[in-house]
């Protein structure tokens, strides 16, 4: 045995390696577990990568790169694609000569997410080609194939990863995998195919459906499909990480592994199903393959509904095959994550609890304020929702309760999607006013200390334009803007929150103290940037 020429990479690193080898013009995205490491690794390898304020902007930048004929990977976690869905559904109709590869990192089992949505549904809904690698080697190869397919059909391609593909290291051989030749970007005007007014979008939609039918045919002939010939009694249709569990749980079974899961190679599936007595679709999450195959009139079994929740693994696949629906052993609960000792959010949540606030929370480390010992957050939905939801509560509740409502949002999340919440607050102020508490710890802490437009540093920590949160908020029309440090003076902080809640005016309180885990690095970056000035 010899691992010469191979590397041990996780799925994220493998995508980055492919992006680098293919000469990707620009990588852009928004940090989110389990996708974050792709752009960081791409930058480390020497690629040009940048964090966008949110996923929608990232995808729009990516569209521009691909229209110019360049290559781009746009990375995000599954829920990020909700934010980017607006451009996604329309860019699918367009003619884009460069390569636009959209990486959606789904999180079945929610290791670090607020839902376990299955983004294969997006590929169908938007009419986008989708590839699903099952390990890091395929993450590398499929990224390159995605670039080829995108440039061949002038369409965006989705690469759907899941947590276990992103964060599992497996052997990767980069040598011997063909890398598509890149071109120098240049602008070629094609208004009817790129400006999606109704007159252009109507024929574009028909064109998209024709292209997808042709790609389905290509997928039948040349797609990344694998057939493992096994027993005639049991056949399993699968994709992504589930394939790996299947091969080990049922080494005797015949297996059809589908690499391009939209559009599906339905004739290949039909032929495979006909060779076995019993055919099961084994897939993590939604019954996506099952529903599509059944709709095509092919006999196939679905996994029992209990296996729709959470990740699959070898044991669960064994149980699916055995039709075992008995209660699964509950794992011994481990220690839940907690706000770090000395974290600036700690004092904040202690105060909010003491003041009996109704707290509309947001997405970030401060989401841990939901858990004991704080139990201070009442509601959390999605990135940026704290402000809108807080305003809604204020509009609906009677005054004494309305005046207990406070929205809590972090600095990274504020730039992601909090700005429009502030616009709403100024435009449609509740009668009781509102209080937004902005926890500015100077970094995107939860995902591992990434930069954002408020830090004044780029993805690789170099100096760039810096947006001052307080100036933006003031200029949007908020008169009561306070900058405080709750850790330094908890009593004054609590007093300010109470007086702001009592006021019936709009207030934004910025609690500014750097994340303890980031403070040392921030100082180093700043020192380095000063020296380079």
């Amino acid at each position: 045995m010899d691992n010469k020429g191979k590397q041990l990479l996780n799925g994220d690193e493998a995508v980055a390696a492919a992006a680098f080898d293919a000469g990707i013009t620009l990588g852009t995205g928004y940090p989110g577990t389990p996708s974050t490491e792709i752009l960081e690794e791409f930058e480390r390898l020497g690629g040009h990568a940048q964090w966008a304020p949110n996923e929608k902007v990232a995808l729009e930048v990516g569209i521009g790169v691909a229209i110019a004929g360049g290559r781009t990977v746009v990375t995000m976690k599954h829920v990020g694609l909700n934010v980017a869905a607006d451009p996604l559904f329309t860019v699918a109709l367009m003619d884009i000569p460069g390569a636009l590869v959209i990486v959606s990192a789904d999180d079945p089992g929610m290791s670090s997410s607020q839902n376990e949505q299955d983004n294969r549904r997006y590929a169908v809904a938007a009419g986008v080609v989708m590839l699903e690698p099952s390990d890091a080697q395929e993450a590398y190869e499929f990224t390159l194939r995605a670039i080829e397919i995108a440039e061949c059909w002038h369409l965006p391609v989705m690469l759907r990863l899941t947590t276990r593909v992103c964060h599992s290291k497996t052997l990767v051989m980069r040598e011997g995998v063909s890398v598509p030749q890149s071109r120098v970007p240049e602008y070629v005007r094609n208004v009817s195919r790129r400006s999606m007014i109704p007159a252009n979008a109507r024929p574009a939609h028909k064109k998209l459906r024709e292209s997808l039918a042709q790609i389905a045919q290509w997928n039948e002939r040349s797609g990344p499909t694998e057939v493992i010939a096994g027993s005639g009694t049991l056949g399993i249709i699968t994709s992504g990480i589930s394939y790996q569990h299947v091969r080990e749980a049922a080494p005797e079974a015949s297996v059809l592994k589908i690499g391009m899961t939209h559009p599906l190679p339905m004739e290949t599936i039909e032929r495979f199903a006909a060779t076995v007595d019993r055919c099961i679709a084994i897939e993590e999450g939604d019954p996506y393959l099952y529903e599509a195959i059944r709709t095509a009139g092919i006999e196939v079994e679905d996994k029992p509904s209990m296996y729709r929740f959470g990740e699959l693994n070898i044991q669960r696949v064994r149980r699916i095959i055995a039709g075992d629906c008995s209660t699964e052993a509950k794992p011994v609960p481990g220690k839940p994550p907690a706000l770090c000792p000395g974290c600036p959010h700690r004092t904040v949540f202690t105060s909010l609890k003491a003041l009996n606030c109704i707290v509309s929370g947001d997405i970030g480390c401060y989401g841990l304020g939901v858990l004991p010992p704080f139990e201070a957050i009442d509601i959390s939905v999605c990135m940026g929702a704290s402000i809108g939801v807080g305003l809604g509560l204020r509009h609906a509740l009677a005054e004494p309760e309305a005046k207990r409502v406070i929205s809590v949002i972090g600095d990274g999340t504020f730039f992601h999607s909090g700005l429009t919440g502030i616009a709403e607050m100024v435009y449609n102020p509740p009668k009781t006013g509102h209080v937004v508490l902005l926890l500015d710890n100077g970094t995107t802490a939860m995902t591992g200390m990434q930069e954002h437009p408020g830090t004044g540093r780029t993805l690789d920590h170099h100096k760039t334009g810096k947006i001052l949160i307080e100036e933006v908020i003031k200029s949007m029309g908020i008169k009561n803007v306070h900058i405080v440090d709750a850790t330094r003076d908890p009593a004054a902080f609590e007093g300010l929150i109470q007086s702001s809640l009592d006021k019936s005016e709009l207030s934004v309180i910025i609690n500014r103290r750097p994340c303890l885990l980031a403070v040392k690095s921030i100082k180093e970056y700043e020192k380095c940037n000063e020296q380079n000035n």
Binding site: H167, H245, R247, I314, G334, K335, P336, P337
Partner: protein, 160 residues
Amino acid sequence: MNKITNIVVAGLGGQGVLKASDIIADVAFLAGFDVKKSETHGMSQRGGSVSSDIRFGEHVFSPMVPDGEADFLVVLTADQVEVNAAALSSCGVLVEPSQVDETKLGNKKSINVALLGTLSRHLKFSDEQWIEAIKRNLPEALHATNIEAFHTAKNAGVTS
């Protein structure tokens, strides 16, 4: 026969679980095995329970060790043994901090690498391969302390 070795490393965020599992995966890689390693990131940074699975052999499919099938369970802190006990097979080996004399470590933070020294007694990798894997996964400033921790634990008279 395709015999796969299953190892689970567990502990709390910040203790070096992922680093220890990286080193094990790397030593198997250097020895020429097919190897897969799985871990959970994200919330793990905030001091919660973390675990990482390493599997190596001639050919490995799933990156996850099935419950009750770990040949070795390496736990970095005593209170996480119970949480992860279900991973270990009935004839599996538990490697835990009580098997290492922490007072003999140059730096207590090296407990993760010290436990690899204990683990190494059960695996057929050479010291050179372990040292190479340790070096490849830690910054140079930490090499000496950690290599010493590895040897101290490996050569300790404690039986497991």
